[in-house]
């Protein structure tokens, strides 16, 4: 284990591997997993949120109940439950991120869809004979897209944190594959002798989450008027 030096900018680990390429691979794994999961969340939340918000009635009740149930679990607890069912691994990490991020996004998309459903342009589209799919895709979706974009950005930073936490506990991505959570977990073993093992991936993880949150704040200021904001 070497401290950071000219040939190995972030030091080397207990097997003599340079930490920098490991961190780069880890960022790739973490970002890929989180992005795929957030895409799944976005599609599902958009579909269910828009339908529930526009149609109301029993469908709305059902969707909101399910969302409420999922929302009752602290994020990492839900992630652990998923990992216990699916077994530790990438699939568990991906499914956890989806289940953790879906309740809030569905709620907010639905709230936005409820507001849009009462607008005149939707009424006039319905009166002029537009069918349901057309109304939803052409008129409602574009007007809740801002909410989806903002929440998707925040969901990405939540996803990175969930993957990190789950892998850190040993239930997410499995070594030798690198993810930021795995690297921090493994670095913890040799922390006293080689603090750079957790400093490198730790700083990268925090920087990634911070950067995505800043983008989210910027998007929110641009796309969502202040009154429609939720306090999160």
């Amino acid at each position: 284990m070497q401290p950071p030096g000219p040939g190995w900018w972030l030091g080397t680990d207990n097997l003599g591997r340079s930490v920098l390429p490991r961190v780069m691979e880890g960022v790739g794994t973490t970002l890929l997993l989180s992005s795929i999961a957030v895409l799944v969340t976005a599609v599902l939340s958009a579909a269910f949120g828009i339908l529930a918000g526009y149609r109301g009635g029993y469908l709305n009740e059902l969707v909101m109940r399910l969302v409420e149930v999922l929302y009752s679990f602290p994020a990492i607890v839900l992630a652990i439950l998923v990992a216990a069912v699916l077994g530790p691994g990438q699939t568990a990490a991906l499914a956890s991120i989806v289940l953790v991020t879906i309740p809030l996004m569905t709620r907010l998309v639905r709230a936005a869809a409820v507001a849009v459903a009462q607008r005149d342009y939707v009424t006039s589209a319905v009166i002029s004979g537009a069918r349901l799919p057309r109304v939803l895709v052409r008129h409602v979706l574009p007007n809740v897209a801002g909410t989806i974009a903002v929440q998707g950005t925040y969901a990405l930073s939540v996803g990175i944190a969930v993957e990190g936490g789950l892998s850190f506990l040993g239930f997410g991505v499995q070594p030798p594959q690198a993810s930021l959570g795995v690297l921090i977990q493994q670095g913890g073993t040799y922390m006293i002798a080689a603090p750079w093992l957790i400093l490198g991936p730790g700083v990268v993880l925090v920087a990634a989450i911070l950067a995505i949150n800043v983008v989210g704040d910027g998007l929110r200021d641009r796309l969502e008027p202040r009154e429609t904001r939720s306090l999160t």
Binding site: S72, F73, V77, L81, G165, L231
Partner: protein, 322 residues
Amino acid sequence: MRLLMWWSGRALSSAATLLGVSVLIFAAVRLMPGGFAETVLGPFATPEQKAELAARYGLDQPVFVQYGHWLAAVAGGDFGFSMISRQPVGAELLARLPITAELTVLAVAASVLLGVPLGVLTAVRARPTGGGAAGRLLSGLGVSVPEFVLGSLVVFVFSRYALGLQVGSWVPLTRDPAANLATMILPAAVLSVFSISVTARTTRDAVMGVLVEPYVTAAVGRGESPWSIVRHHILRNAATPVVTLIGTTTAYLLGGALIVEHVFNLPGVGSYIVQAVGRRDYAVVQAGVLLAAGVFIVMNVLIDLLVGAIDPRLGVMAGRRA
């Protein structure tokens, strides 16, 4: 009367959610790999032995009957036995709960005592330079640092350099309160960084929303001191979102406590759940997860009560949570 109706509706809806949570957990445990019979009898059990065991524990009955039995047992406080230690799970959870509760209470206290003043201060001095910007940057950083990263770093710093506080050990509150606090202060600090930052941000947004109200301008016009304006006109009006947030944050803290207990090696509910998942001790996972979700749901009802007491207008607006 309308208020009473609203409360009973709220309680009913929470009960329905809790029921949904229990169904989900029950289903999840059923889906976990490794059947009960295989776990208890080992891989070489005969089909007859398995059938006998299934009959003894009611596993040959329809799933919804099993669910009913389980629910009745849980409602009576019986969470079953740990497959590893063969001890009742309920007693173990009860013994560990005070540690998690202490950790969470300390973190919530820190959020209120530090987060709220910070938020008010950055809102009242909302100029883009100096303190305001520094506060925003700090709170932005605070919400971006996961507990496992910060926790690992704190453990490293305090175990490498002798800074007076022990990490990795724990002293019961009943034996020595001062020593207990000394072992809890670092985990609680790590846990509270996120909630302090979120509280500060939300307080800032809420206070800035109130600052533009005419009654604040009127108070300034009357020549009231800034402190008096904050105390009499701003705090109460900005309290609702902050109190609601603290309820939501508590749920987050329960999850965070799990990681923090794992990192700092504290014998709380969270580390119990983590160990149980690692050892496939499903009765413990089931009970622990149910407990976490149940506490969150109850917390939310309490927060609604509190918000209703702070701002009576909200209690009547039944559609608020729609």
